[in-house]
Amino acid sequence: MTKRSVSIHVPALTRVEGEGSLRLRIEHGEIQELALDIFEPPRYFEKFLEGRRHHEVLDTVARICGICPIAYQMSAAQAIEQAFGLDPGPWVRDMRRVFYCGEWLQSHALHVHLLAAPDFLGFDSVVGMAARHPEVVRRGLRLQGLGNALIRLLGGRSVHPVGACVGGFFRAPDAAEVDDMLEQLRAALPDAHDLVLWAAALKLPQDEQAFTCVALRHDTDYPFEQGRIVSDDGLSVPIEQYEDHFIEEHRPHSTALFSLLHGAPYLVGPLARLNLNHDRLPAASLSLLRQTGMTFPSNNMFHSLLARTLEIHVAIVEAIRLLENYRRPVSPQVEVTPRAGIGCGATEAPRGLLWHRYELDDQGIVRAARIVPPTSQNQARIEADLRRSLRQFGLNRPDDKLRLRAETVIRNYDPCISCATHFLKIGVTRR
């Protein structure tokens, strides 16, 4: 190994949500320093939830992230309903799943086409890529648009939708709107199908590595809004026990917190979900996966891209299944009676497990809140991955190649830095 000192500083990472930077120092062929700095300013959400009434929480937490507001609303609704001992019933459960399908579609299509694909096809941005691969980009934008339309059906608008509430929804779509949506969804199936095959044919880096996956797992369904928290090294606990197994720590270079499972980094998100739930895929998505010849679980982190495209297919198939049985209910929401208590909620945001806990008083006023977003759960994993994949890639390579590889590795996790900084209370600190 040559004796070379390299110092790479990428002051502002592109094609990630939010703001982050990377510091990498290599001395004598060894990585001396590597840090993914998250310098997104703190916005203190958990603090200003205190003193708010239960019915203000969903509109508040949505503002943590413009890309996955539904995830925040759904985890919060579930937690508050649990605290109040409320079951919103099957119609609400089904429609929340449909709502969530819209967010996966929108967020995954955005990530795959606007943020990640330029790396694998050799472009700086989607604008350059669109000139050379117009059909690929158009297909992506169509799927993203479909996700936005599905969100609007139940939420009125796709960023910070206004339709959801504790107890259900403010409004139930009528049959004509649902039929129209169904038609659009069915028409998009070939796009989703082709997208998966396209992703499977991409030349993705081969980068096998060992890591622990964490996701929700449900008795019968692919996980969106329900399930136990499981890992591939044997964890299987109800969501209320999250804090017994996972801790956060604050490291100086970041305004996000790092989560650890039993003291070690872990992965959440599409690849973790698929690795742990490939046997829960809808039949049509499973047979599509077989067609690609790929098998899961996979320990190539770059298969995240494939997992994301397959989940686009899952979202469309699921939304069709649920809307085909649509009946307009007498009321889209159940009555809410506050009572004092603590409730937890956990759902699968596009980027992975999103866990909330609220303590409410008998008036339904929030007394304490804790929110653990996916990106802070992945942060330790991203750094661990960077260390080994850069070593494997070759620390001798030229700076710009190293830098691009590092950025590619980071973007592959689809980190949402806005989400990561909304602030959780510290479980444990080490100095």
Binding site: Y44, K47, E50, G51, R63, G66, V137, F170
Partner: protein
């Protein structure tokens, strides 16, 4: 003459307003034909201090670093347009200004608060630099943004919407949620732009588009109390997404006790 150029900058925010571009679909590609996008990190273009015709700014100013950045953005842009509630009015995170909670909250949350270089207040962009045009909304919608680009580039001042959500309800024939369901709607004091989305969904408006011109907040406060809201509830209504906008701030503070307590 080359194509006009734009930049999209992010400060303290949720990224939701930039999605007005990234969710625009085909229109995003059309826009990229019409203008030169010089800086837009999330879209993969980085040249922060390139000279541009229009700089769109998302997010409020809440750290020392952001203060320096926004001044440099001003220096290299012909027009500065704020995108949404955070940039225009401070956003939800300006709630930390209410009781001067920045330091306390920082210590409650971080093990190493010394590394967190925040300003005491989260403020709108206009608190620090001259802003040429402000777009309200949390989030702004795509139509507003694309219209602003078109209008600024053709030298026409963009259309301002200062009407109230109430007017929009009338236009859309939405039934009034305050009259029919007794909901504490902020439509009477909120500017239009959303198409009266919440009332059309059968719920009360929570003022994500900020105060309308000549908003009679005092009359609405009395009306809200008449509907059975406690003073703390009234304070919470005004001190929400646009809590730092002067007319809402003033109306909210009349009823506010520290931490939204009721006694």
């Amino acid at each position: 003459m080359g194509k006009p150029s734009i930049a999209v900058h992010k400060f303290s925010s949720c990224d939701g307003c930039q999605l007005a571009f990234l969710n625009a679909g085909e229109e995003l590609l059309n826009l990229a034909e019409l203008v030169d996008i010089k800086h837009f990190l999330e879209a993969g273009v980085a040249d922060e201090y390139a000279h541009v015709d229009i700089a769109f700014v998302e997010g409020s100013i809440s750290t020392t670093d952001e203060l320096t950045r926004i001044q440099r953005v001003r220096a290299c842009s012909r027009y500065v347009v704020t995108l949404g509630a955070c940039a225009t009015a401070g956003g939800l995170q300006a709630l930390r200004n209410l009781d001067g909670s920045n330091t306390e909250w920082k210590h409650a949350i971080y093990a190493h608060p010394g590394f967190i270089h925040t300003l005491d207040q989260a403020e709108p962009v206009s608190a620090h630099i001259k802003v040429d045009f402000e777009l309200w909304g949390c989030p702004v919608n795509g139509r507003q943004v694309l219209a602003a680009v078109q209008q600024l580039l053709f030298g026409v001042a963009p259309l301002e919407q200062r009407d109230k959500v109430c007017m929009e309800c009338k236009r859309q024939h939405a039934s009034c949620v305050m009259v029919t369901a007794g909901r504490p709607c902020l439509g009477p004091v909120t500017r239009t732009g959303c198409g009266a989305l919440c009332p059309r969904f059968g719920r009360d408006c929570y003022a994500c588009f900020g105060p309308a011109g000549n908003a009679n907040t005092a009359a609405l406060s009395r009306r809200l109390e008449g509907l059975g809201l406690t003073p703390a509830d009234v304070a919470r209504r005004f001190l929400f997404i646009n809590n730092h906008a002067p007319s809402f701030n003033e109306a909210g503070k009349k009823h506010y006790r520290q931490g939204f307590s009721d006694d």
